[in-house]
């Protein structure tokens, strides 16, 4: 898994915007059509919340 912190949203508490999601994907060389991007956005937000919850687990 690679991710370029320079292209994404740096504040993990900030809501994931379509633009930030697009930059995350572009940094991996993936050009997703708008419809796919918007459709996947809610699940991407949930996954980010899961990452925070998992990291905070006792």
């Amino acid at each position: 898994m690679q991710n370029d912190p320079g292209t994404g949203d740096r504040d993990p508490g900030a809501p994931l915007t379509p633009e930030a999601f697009r930059r995350h994907l572009a940094s991996l060389g993936i050009a997703a059509p708008e419809a796919d991007l918007l459709a996947a956005l809610p699940a991407a937000r949930i996954l980010r919340r899961k990452a925070r919850a998992a990291g905070a687990a006792p």
Binding site: F21, A51, A54
Partner: protein, 479 residues
């Protein structure tokens, strides 16, 4: 044998060894069963005339061997999930995106050699017959934009099988074969086994060689059997990983063992189907009736563990498919590519934190298992949802499987009962009033110590023998 497919692997092989059944007869019976039923079940994605002829030739070679030379599972049939290579058959991974699988460029190329797991079972005398349906790249489903339609649940064709080893579960439940290979990254052996009323064994992480199997999330993936009975699963496991000796203690009973029951891990979850809770409590009662000691045990909160496993799965899956998505994005199915995309929001720090959570969970489970032979928990929290529910959007299928991919413990799913027709979970599972007319299977799982599939199968075998057998799962009109 009137119906050789109804006998277990041990009895099939014994009959072939005695000469009362030939491997060719058994293979032909399986091929005829597939031809008769698979139009409805849709479990098989590859079985052409050449593959049939190859299987019959392999059976003929076994029949031609001196009886003393026949390997232990000689002549018994094997189904293989279509992300695992079988020499001479294509590996399509259930995706138009898989190299060579685009219909415009022809079918996927045939594999040059068997995957290590298939080779081990072929060496034990099993005959790979058919490649079986998988959710796209073992990721998500059911979906209707894959090369083949979704496999259907033999208990009720209007319901899903669960996945991703969808065809493996359906093929065993429909009586084509006693055993098939699947893979389990977050429950993909155990959940379809539970939904289809059969047995599924997720081996310990790393116990089964994975060469020749297309990965989903390599640190979580494991290959294992889906089978008609615990004995069948144990026999296959014993040949997949001989060190497991998984079949060594079958029939020994469980008197004197101590088994933990993780009741609080699911009983108060509103997603738990009431019939599942009853069936789990009945299974716990059987533990004591068989002379074992049952103790209620506490496991760490479920949700953060599942979240951690999801983070690792999505990160690793995207790493596997990153190059494919960059050049073949539109050839992936809609659900698969949108699922894979989500991993892009994860950072290496997220993944590291998830792995630390996994390590803590593993230690907590190890602590429970230090004075318990196994832990009893549900596999899924309800029966298989109806296909109709998926037409309206994503459906959440509540399970208790992913944490043990994260911890690496072996886990054995076996049937524990049936729903009783009309139920209060109808809306949650997407069942219509018509669908609710018939019962559906429910599954429990036993979680064991690392590398101790032997004890796990011993306990599962004893509980299976003490549990009323499920009726034949063919409520539809089929030969």
């Amino acid at each position: 044998m009137s119906d050789p497919l109804s006998f277990g692997l041990r009895d099939q092989a014994a009959a072939i060894a005695r000469g009362t059944l030939s491997a060719v007869e058994l293979t032909r019976a399986a091929l005829e069963r597939i031809a008769a039923r698979d139009g409805a079940v849709q479990a098989v994605v590859h079985l052409d005339a050449e593959a049939e002829a190859r299987a019959l030739r392999a059976a003929g070679r076994i029949d031609g061997m001196a009886r003393a030379d026949r390997p232990p599972l000689a002549g018994t049939g094997l189904g293989v999930k279509d992300i695992i290579d079988v020499a001479g058959q294509p590996t399509g991974c259930g995706s138009h995106a898989h190299p060579g699988a685009d219909p415009q460029t022809g079918p996927a190329a045939a594999a040059a050699r068997d995957a290590a797991s298939v080779a081990a079972l072929r060496g034990a005398g099993m005959i790979p017959l058919a490649k079986l349906a998988t959710y796209e790249y073992a990721l998500t489903g059911p979906a209707w934009d894959q090369p083949d339609p979704p496999a259907r649940n033999p208990w009720n064709l209007a319901h899903i099988t669960g996945g991703s080893s969808s065809g493996s579960a359906a093929a065993v439940a429909a009586g084509y074969l006693r055993a098939a290979l699947g893979t389990d990254t977050g429950g993909s052996i155990r959940a379809p086994a539970a939904y289809c009323g059969i047995v599924g064994l997720k081996p310990s992480q790393g116990a089964v060689p994975d060469a020749g199997c297309f990965p989903l999330a390599p640190s979580l993936d494991v290959i294992g059997p889906l089978a008609a009975t615990v004995e069948d699963a144990a026999l296959v496991m014993a040949h997949l990983a001989p060190a497991s000796a998984a079949d060594r203690d079958l029939g020994r009973g469980i008197a004197g063992l101590r088994i933990g029951y993780a009741r609080d891990w699911f009983a108060h979850d509103p997603q738990t189907h009431p019939d599942l809770l009853r069936a789990m409590d009945d299974m716990a009662a059987r533990v004591t009736l068989l002379g074992a000691e049952l103790r209620l045990v506490a496991l760490p909160d479920y949700q953060p563990i599942e979240d951690a496993a999801s983070v690792i799965l999505q990160a690793e899956a995207l790493a596997v498919h990153r190059a494919g998505l960059s050049v073949r994005f539109g050839r992936y199915g809609v659900d698969a590519r949108r699922n894979l995309m989500t991993g892009a929001v994860l950072t290496p720090g997220d993944v590291a934190a998830a792995r630390r959570t996994g390590a803590r969970f593993r230690a907590a489970v190890d602590a429970v298992l230090s004075d318990h032979a196994a832990i009893l928990a549900p596999t899924t929290l309800g029966p298989a949802p109806a296909f109709a529910a998926f037409a309206q959007g994503a459906v959440w299928t509540a399970m208790r499987t992913m944490p043990f991919n994260l911890s690496g413990h072996p886990a054995l799913s076996l049937p524990c009962g049936l729903t009783h027709g009309l139920d209060t979970a109808g809306d949650r599972t997407g069942n219509t009033a018509r669908d609710r007319a018939g019962p559906l299977p429910l599954g429990c799982q036993l979680i064991g110590r690392h590398g101790d599939e032997r004890t796990l199968c011993r306990i599962g075998d004893a509980l299976e023998r003490a549990t009323p057998p499920l009726p034949r799962p063919l409520p539809w009109s089929m030969p």
